[in-house]
């Protein structure tokens, strides 16, 4: 696996705002079918990092390659699905059914003047079924629960058939049983659909047994290839501060 071209290849990345280093000399690779959790204290640069990967922020120094290309030359954005942090919060009166929202995921795939094709319809239905929201397809998005909305946003990202799914704290404001179910679905996407998964989370304890690699970001990055050991590794404790111990204990409670 690791001999293939990485999906993301980040080398010596810096992100500096007003002389303050938000990210400092961060390097890593993300390969196809990776299943990665990113943790770190608030303000540590997790969201900044994924915003750079998505082309929403520009790095100050360093190199970021996506599928071997520099960000400015990269055009195949449909290969990357993004589920933002605030996805579970939506304006209750926005005129969109679940199906309307999932169809948005096909927008950049469709050519100008083209009508919705059979493939578009199949992909949208398929994405809704995979995220278990097909039965909600005619419901208004504003009437769904936080957990359901989160799965709809995920289905929208899946509709373009991405090779990698990036999620920023997907379970903020979602109850625990919905969270478990959500992670099970993510795991399935990773194992059955071979989709690479990268997500920022605070509730590492819930999923530590599942993830393949753990990135800890607090200005610098520590990449742990064995998450179970990572939660007690000293280097990470140093980066994460006291929270590492809390996380460790939190994990054992589950």
């Amino acid at each position: 696996m690791k001999f293939s071209l990485p999906i993301f290849d980040v080398k010596n990345l810096y992100f500096i705002v007003d002389n303050q280093e938000i990210l400092s000399n961060v390097s890593f690779e993300i390969f196809a079918q990776d299943y990665i959790a990113i943790i770190g204290p608030n303000g540590g640069g997790k969201t900044t990092l994924i915003r750079i990967l998505l082309g929403l922020e520009k790095e100050t120094k360093g190199e970021v390659r996506i599928f071997g290309k520099r960000i400015k030359d990269f055009k195949e954005w449909h290969k990357i699905g993004y589920v933002p942090q605030r996805a579970s919060h939506v304006d209750a009166s926005f005129p969109a059914t679940t199906e309307d929202v999932v169809k948005m995921g096909r927008t950049s795939k469709r050519k100008l003047f083209s009508k919705e094709s059979d493939e578009d319809r199949i992909r949208v239905e398929d994405a809704m079924r995979k995220m278990d929201v097909y039965h909600l397809k005619d419901k208004m998005i504003g009437t769904l629960s936080g957990g359901q909305r989160q799965r709809v946003m995920c289905a929208r990202a899946l509709a373009s058939r991405p090779e990698i799914l990036i999620l920023d704290e997907p379970n903020t404001g979602v109850d625990v049983s919905s969270q478990q179910r959500f992670y099970e679905l993510l795991r399935e996407l990773n194992t059955k659909e071979k989709i690479t998964i990268v997500f920022i989370t605070h509730d590492i304890g819930v999923i530590a047994d599942d993830i393949a690699r753990l990135f800890t970001i607090n200005q610098k990055a520590v990449i742990c290839n064995n998450p179970k050991e990572a939660l007690s590794c000293e280097e990470m404790s140093e980066l994460y501060g006291i929270d590492a111990h809390l996380l460790h204990n939190h994990k054992h409670e589950h």
Binding site: K75, W77, H78, P84, S93, F94
Partner: protein, 265 residues
């Protein structure tokens, strides 16, 4: 045939009104969903600068209104992006600034008269054959752009950032949408008037939103409300000799109140 259609000026006004109802409600849906409703008021005032220049310098006021509204729309978007200014503050600056400039131009040019009044509040008597051709031509172009990029505008309205990450050229499309809105507003001031066009863009959509339907149904409800208000407003204007902009806005307000009450939770 109804009495009001016996007059040629009414036929022209009705045709122009229907085209504007379609354009205002569709473009209005996108700007309301983007929480950018105030841009319609601001651009209407910018269009007034064009009207003032046209009246004083003897150019076609409608064409000048289109040009001024589009230039303002671009400047507003440029300022928002380049200086990261608050959107509503930029709109407020342009709104009052444009009105001040328009008033100074007409005062200096001695054009403060009935003609200006009709551009402020709309007039069914004012639509000429030339106006109708201009409204129709620009109208077809605007409608085509709105329909071609409807799915992109909708996605951007829902979530600009995710739209951007999926490869949609958000900035370019934002410029395109405000340009189209600027043209539609400029075209509308003949029938609805620059002080009242904002209402025709915003209220049909806000009324339609009360019915809590999906995107296509909301768009169609909004379209129906706009067409109905323009038709009833113009009829009222004809029989009661009132400015058409005011009667149209009053009709759409009644629809809004009914929608609000009927859908109260």
């Amino acid at each position: 045939m109804l009495e009001i259609f016996e007059y040629e000026f009414m036929q022209r006004a009705f045709l122009a009104g229907m085209i504007i109802a379609v354009l205002a409600s569709i473009s209005g849906t996108f700007i309301v969903l983007r929480r950018y409703s105030m841009i319609s008021e601001t651009l209407a005032h910018s269009a007034l600068v064009g009207v003032a220049v046209g009246l004083v310098a003897g150019y076609n006021p409608l064409w000048m209104a289109v040009i001024m509204a589009v230039i303002s729309a671009w400047l507003i978007e440029y300022l928002r992006y380049s200086f990261a200014l608050y959107s509503d503050a930029v709109l407020a600056i342009f709104l009052s600034g444009s009105l001040a400039i328009a008033v100074i131009i007409v005062s200096l040019g001695g054009a403060f008269n009935n003609s200006l009044f009709s551009y402020l509040f709309g007039s069914i008597l004012a639509v000429s054959d030339e106006d109708l051709i201009t409204i129709f031509t620009f109208g077809i172009v605007c409608l085509s752009v709105l329909l071609i990029f409807a799915k992109e505008f909708y996605f951007i309205a829902y979530d600009e950032e995710v739209a951007k990450t999926s490869g949609i050229k958000v900035r370019l499309l934002n410029f395109l949408l405000v340009s189209i809105v600027a043209i539609i507003i400029a075209l509308s001031i003949r029938v609805v008037g620059s002080l009242l066009i904002g209402a025709l863009m915003v209220i049909p959509t806000v009324s339609a939103l009360q019915y809590r339907q999906g995107f296509v149904k909301t768009l169609l409800i909004s379209l129906f409300f706009a067409i109905f208000s323009v038709a009833s407003g113009m009829t009222l204007s004809f029989y009661m000799s009132l400015p058409s902009g005011a009667t149209i806005v009053l009709s759409v307000l009644v629809i809004f109140i009914i929608s609000l009450v009927a859908n109260r939770r």
